[in-house]
């Protein structure tokens, strides 16, 4: 059975027994998977059709690469020695002021929660990024899975045509001991065409189809006398790759399909368009999307650069929240804004700020989380955490619980050591658990 026939029968209301299984896809030939395109309308229809009882949970991680300054984003200290020129404006959470350069976020903040007391244990970029993406300090003998891989493993639908974990504008981190099928699919740049999902320019569709048919025939002989998982893996992966290239859902990556006004609302930057792509992907059924905004390592010209970055961040983040709410995705989608650490309160001689691990910001909301809470406070000079310190492990505990995943799910590593998704000493953030 080819995909074409599968899709035809989907249009004429498929019965349970007719549902395509993973096997039947694999048994079909590679070339059979090609040669159709579907309209966006059909796609929407197909996706909207079976409304499940409870909506599946999703997660979007907005990764601020380099370590964003809390003092120039969500915890400004105007008028103090460490505050610099950044002014504060009132946000939609009573009593909470944020940077003047985030006016749209000031409005959106009521739907989110703000942690101002993150305390972490890694001060160099690479190690801190690992910690931020996996919930663990790097350890020499083990590769921990990233949050996206955990979500893909726990919530993913293996029959879905697109990967369950997509990372935009950055590589994210891998699946570690969960296995390659949960690796992120990386979109290098949201505003450029994705690499290698179309045949090379010189090869048109009909020629590509002929090539696949030829490959199929060649592969059969070798597979015939080389029983074993490697050959089956090859067949399965090539089948998935071709299915992926031709999946009707591929239009999700095509931002031209959005009205100009929507594209503009997100901001015409790689990050803004990445946020739009994230919304489209989640809507289609991808479970985890990470969008990176680079450039926060502001050792020099901190104020000029963060102002510029905020102009990119503000419309992207705020429009994402707005659209997820409008499209009834907010209560099933957890959104997290974070980087690998914060910036040092003292301003140094180059008008920059160094790395800082004792008191920095994370913004999160959506899903089952409450909204409008402020967690933790810093001293007026921004140097001391006054209450509610939150570790990355605590944050992970809260995120996984919010996604309906047991944070202490146990796994065996290749060295036969059991390990849990989150360190055993982690506790959920009390202000964000449901009972509060």
């Amino acid at each position: 059975m080819t995909i074409r026939t599968l899709l035809n029968c989907e249009e004429t209301q498929m019965t349970q027994a007719d549902q395509p299984t993973r096997r039947s896809f694999l048994q079909s030939s590679l070339a059979g998977m090609l040669g159709f395109t579907l309209s966006e309308d059909f796609l929407r229809h197909a996706i909207a059709a079976p409304a499940p009882q409870s909506k599946p949970k999703n997660c979007i991680l907005l990764w601020m690469d380099g370590g964003p300054s809390q003092l120039e984003t969500f915890d400004p200290k105007p008028g103090t020695r460490n505050g610099g020129p950044t002014q504060a404006i009132q946000s939609s959470i009573p009593g909470v002021q944020i940077s003047e350069h985030l006016p749209q976020m000031a409005e959106a903040l009521q739907h989110l929660n703000l942690i101002r007391s993150m305390v972490s244990s890694e001060g160099s970029h690479q190690r801190a990024k690992y910690l931020g993406h996996t919930g663990y300090n790097p350890q020499p003998t083990i590769q921990h899975p990233s949050l996206g891989a955990m979500v893909s493993e726990e919530l993913g639908n293996p029959d879905f045509s697109l990967p369950q974990f997509v990372s935009i504008n950055g590589p994210s981190f891998g699946p570690g001991y969960l296995g390659q099928e949960h690796a992120p699919f990386v979109v290098n740049n949201a505003t450029k065409k994705i690499e290698n999902v179309q045949p090379p320019k010189s090869v048109d569709q009909s020629r590509f189809r002929s090539r696949l048919a030829l490959l199929d025939r060649m592969e059969r002989r070798f597979a015939g006398n080389h029983s074993g998982s490697k050959v089956e893996d090859h067949h399965e992966t090539y089948g998935q790759a071709v299915r992926f290239m031709n999946a009707p859902e591929m239009v999700t990556f095509d931002l031209e399909k959005e009205p100009k006004s929507v594209r503009e609302a997100y901001g015409e930057t790689d990050f803004g368009q990445g946020c739009l792509m994230a919304r489209r992907l989640i809507e289609t059924g991808v479970r985890f999307v990470e969008v990176t905004l680079r450039g926060w390592d502001t050792h020099e010209d901190n104020f000029g650069r963060t102002t510029q970055l905020c102009r990119t961040l503000d419309p992207g983040f705020a429009t994402l929240v707005k659209e997820l709410r409008e499209r009834d995705l907010w209560d099933s989608t957890l959104v997290v804004w974070m980087g690998e650490f914060g910036r040092k309160p003292e301003i140094d001689s180059r008008d920059g700020r160094g790395h800082w691990t004792r008191g920095w910001n994370v913004v999160l909301g959506g899903g089952d989380l409450p909204a409008g809470r402020e967690i933790g406070r810093m001293s007026p000079d921004g140097a001391k955490v006054l209450d509610s310190p939150v570790s990355i492990a605590d944050l992970y505990h809260t995120l996984l619980t919010g996604l309906g995943i047991n944070p202490f799910t146990e796994y065996m590593t290749s060295l036969r050591r059991p390990i849990t998704y989150v360190e055993e000493k982690a506790k959920g953030i009390p202000q964000l658990t449901k009972s509060v």
Binding site: P163, D233, Q240, K344
Partner: protein
């Protein structure tokens, strides 16, 4: 001159290792008790007999040629080499091939790239130093078959300027960090995973945290300092040892980074570390036993001897087990990084015999690789229709193995002849820069982690997409001057013959009847679709793009069906795996 003649002329250069190989095969050399390939087979066969295992048959010449070329030099044979080997009726052609591969410079290049990748496992080298001196050190050492124990000692105690002493590679890529060096040295050369006890005593085994830090103490005095700079670019660094310096176990077992801390806290942390050094310095210890080091002795020199000493059987066991795993796709003990106090079970006598022989041979890696390549066990086929696991687990069937990104790239570039074009461009751009750029892109498809290498092709969607669609690969297989397609076109005008050569180039074998029919059918379908299957060289051989213009484009169109066949061949699992 016939291809077979060309082949033997090619082989005549082989001298050094033929001698070596003969000693492996001739019974007269057995006087000193050294091992033959047949002895290994006998030991394996006795295990098969006791388990009533019936091994599969012998690998065909083409299967053997391809496998042993990848294993010994990391490259596939060219179609000329494949054809010559298949045609040859020389009774010793397999052993001659093994000697020739061990004698080729590619042997050292491949061994270097494997070991260098193992050493930096999971690490990114931020400051990219020029690689020439490192590569030269490894390549010369491997090609000259330097005793492996000597080589390891050189790496452990290397000092001086990187541009002059390439043996500094390991210390430099670990930035002389005692913790990382301890992990790598014990894992790679003694098959011992000490890192499990870096942070706490072993819950499951006998290791103590002090065992890890006792080994780290050997590196406590080693420094890496920047030396020569050109603008912003670092050209070399210097490795040296201080007279003093101790190691202490930091809280939590990982030396904390002081970055991101307030100034006072950083000062306090440094002060505490100094005090702890005076109070609680960990004394050097090796594999759990305390070691006395004289006051003025270089600690690394002591460690280098301990790691490779004849009394430390782990060195030979670990090396032999690693080589075995490379040649057979699975170690006699698994995982190869963790063999301390483990027994190879039914293979234990074999592992012991091989390790003793390796030590007795003066730790000659070439001898070991030759010995294994010439066993009947290595030369079994990977073909089998039933019972995969049982046979593979006992080495009774050759195992399919993924290629490393480097080797798969080699296979693509060599098969398509794109490496020639790349070499020309590299001459203009500086050594290996272009290849490295391609490799970077290539490795990206293999694993996305920042800084985490994926060491093998594991059939993921991005990899399949890259193989099918990447412009680099499409360009490599395009009929440009000097490409495989052009060379084949010049060799013959006969379509069947061209298909045969394409199969030889991509898979080192001839197509069977069905495959030939399929391919010919493909050509004629393309013909019907108004694409004349002719290659550029058929028409006057005017292949210069600048002169050709429109007619070149035309000719390219005509070569398309052959390009499609090559594309399909290079996307088969037969091409993508070592088998």
């Amino acid at each position: 001159m016939s291809l077979a003649n060309r082949f033997f002329q090619f082989r005549m250069r082989t001298t050094l290792t033929v001698g070596l190989l003969l000693t492996l095969l001739s019974p007269a050399a057995n006087a000193d008790g050294s091992l033959f390939s047949a002895d290994i087979d006998r030991m394996i066969q006795s295990v098969w007999q006791s388990k009533e295992i019936e091994p599969v048959g012998v690998a065909s010449d083409s299967e053997f040629l391809r496998r042993v070329s990848f294993d010994l030099i990391g490259l596939p044979p060219s179609y000329q080499e494949a054809e010559a080997f298949l045609e040859s009726s020389h009774p010793d052609k397999r052993s001659q091939l093994v000697s020739e591969l061990l004698d080729s410079d590619d042997y050292g290049v491949h061994r270097s790239s494997v070991l260098m990748a193992e050493i930096i496992e999971g690490r990114v080298i931020k400051q990219r130093l020029p690689m020439e001196s490192f590569e030269k050190y490894f390549e010369t050492s491997f090609n000259g078959d330097k005793p492996y124990d000597q080589m390891v000692r050189e790496m452990v105690l290397a000092s001086g300027d990187t541009s002059e002493n390439g043996a500094t590679y390991m210390v430099v890529t670990h930035q002389a960090n005692p913790e990382d060096l301890t992990g790598t040295v014990s894992r790679l050369f003694n098959g011992t995973q000490l890192r499990c006890v870096q942070c706490h005593d072993d819950k499951f085994g006998d290791w103590k945290q002090t065992d890890f830090w006792g080994t780290a103490a050997f590196f406590a005095r080693t420094d890496v300092r920047p030396n020569e700079k050109m603008g912003n670019r670092l050209l070399s660094v210097v490795v040296s040892d201080r007279k003093k310096g101790e190691i202490v176990i930091p809280e939590g077992g990982v030396t904390p980074s002081l970055k991101g801390l307030p100034k006072e806290e950083r000062r306090k942390a440094r002060r505490e570390m100094l005090m702890a050094e005076r109070r609680g310095a960990i004394a050097p210890a090796f594999l759990g036993d305390p070691v006395t080091v004289k006051k003025n002795q270089n600690r690394r020199e002591v460690l280098a001897r301990l790691v490779t000493s004849p009394e430390n059987t782990l060195f030979a066991r670990s090396t032999v087990n690693r080589v075995w795993s490379e040649m057979f796709g699975k170690g006699l003990i698994e995982p190869v990084d963790d063999i301390h106090e483990k027994d190879a079970g039914e293979w234990e006598p074999l592992l012991q015999t091989l390790s003793e022989d390796f030590a007795r041979s003066g730790h000659s890696l070439k001898r070991l690789y030759g010995l294994l390549a010439m066993t009947e066990t290595y030369q079994r086929t990977s073909e089998s229709e039933d019972d995969i696991k049982g046979l593979e687990a006992s080495f009774a069937r050759s195992r399919m193995r993924p290629h490393s990104p480097e080797v798969l790239l080699n296979a693509i570039l060599r098969t398509s002849h794109a490496e020639k074009q790349m070499a020309k461009q590299e001459e203009k751009m500086g050594r290996k820069s272009l290849r490295n750029r391609v490799l970077e892109k290539f490795s990206f498809a293999f694993g996305n982690d920042e800084g985490n290498r994926v060491l093998s092709f594991e059939a993921t969607i991005p990899q399949a997409l890259m193989m099918m669609n990447d412009p680099i690969i499409e360009r490599a297989i395009a009929p440009a001057p000097g490409s495989l397609l052009m060379d084949i076109a010049q060799e013959t005008k006969e379509p069947q013959e061209r298909i045969r050569l394409l199969y030889l180039a991509a898979l080192s074998r001839e197509p069977n009847e069905h495959e030939m029919n399929d391919a010919m059918e493909y050509l004629s379908e393309s013909l019907a679709a108004d694409r004349q299957p002719v290659l550029v060289a058929d028409i006057g051989g005017n292949t210069d793009r600048r002169k050709g213009g429109r007619s070149f484009r035309n000719l390219r169109k005509q070569a398309e069906p052959y390009q499609d066949v090559l594309w399909a061949l290079m996307n088969t699992s037969e091409f993508l795996y070592n088998h």
